[in-house]
Each structure stands twice: as structure tokens, then as C-alpha cells.
Symmetry: C2
Subunit: 108 residues, 2 copies
Amino acid sequence: MSGIVKTPEPPYYAVIFASERTEGDRGYGIMADKMVELAARQKGFLGVESARDDQLGITVSYWDSIESIKVWKENSAHKVAQEKGRAEWYKNFSLRVCRVERHSFFEM
Amino acid sequence: MSGIVKTPEPPYYAVIFASERTEGDRGYGIMADKMVELAARQKGFLGVESARDDQLGITVSYWDSIESIKVWKENSAHKVAQEKGRAEWYKNFSLRVCRVERHSFFEM
């Protein structure tokens, strides 16, 4: 199931990040990869799912607790990326912190 | 902010649907559009965000309550689409029901 994250039993937490990009790469691709690598090393990280087309990008990261999300939000390299996102990469974005109440998986 | 849904103040609910498609369209595109139209007419629907690339598709729909999500899940035309999804369109998928605890928006 590459792409789909097999998370543990709920409850756990999801951060839904939806974004509309500015034109051109402007170093975005490299930084995005770096941030996924870095997030994956954080305590409480459960996985990430991501898709992007011409209209919109959606990245959902999964975490064991609100505490782990807060620590990641304050990570200094992540803060630099957040700043660059606001200044250069994104036209619009939304960020939602959610508690996952239940889930199901299907494999063909 | 086309693409990004301006939802009301939390709490509200999100259904995160991530999927890996089978090869070919097989009537998927038309049905997907129909389902968004139909969902938009359901009580308690707050909006939908969607992105798909070669790896993965992510669709997040927003709802006012768990009750509204249940009613939509049981909608008869939606049930037909769910069946076709399992039989023809998806290799793998995950479905997560979440309570949105907080959100923020950024516009350039």
C-alpha cells in the first residue's frame, strides 16, 4: 500500500494541509522532500500522504498526539520552511488539526 | 480561494479519503463529478477539497456532524458508487472520519 499510510488504531491525529502554489519551483521540491524526511524522524510521527495536481495540493500527516504536532510546528528547520512558504511558495493555504475517530482500509 | 474550502469555525468533521486507482478511466471521472454534485446537496455538507497525481488521490469532504456523514454514507446513489469503487476503480483506499479541532487560513 505505498502512498496510503497504515496508521494504528484510532484515536490519533491528522494535520490536513491544502495549498495553492505560486508559479515555478523556487526551491520548493527540495524543501518539501526535506520536510518529509525531517518530519519522519520526529517523535510521534505516524506517516504522511500527499497528492498534488494543477489546482491544489493536499498533504495529510498523522501523529500520535497534539503534543507531537506542537513540537513539530516549533521545529526550527520547519519554521524556516513555514516562512518561505508564506513568502514565496503558496498563494493560499489551509491548515487543519483533527482527531481521527475511526478509519477503514480496503485492499484489492 | 478556489480549491480551498473556507469552512466555518471548528469543531466540524472531515472525511479523508485516500486512494490508488486502477488503470484507465472506466467511467470514474463522470461518477466522481456526480458524487461531488450529489454530496453538495446533502444536509450538513460544508465543502470538498481534492487532488490527484500518479501516485495517490486525496479527497477531503467537510461536514457539520457525524450524523450528516452517516446519512451521506447510506445515500443510495452513493452506495452504488462505493460498490463500483471496490469492484473496479480502486486498488487500495483508506477512509478516515475526523473531528476538526482547529484551523487556520493564509491568503497571499
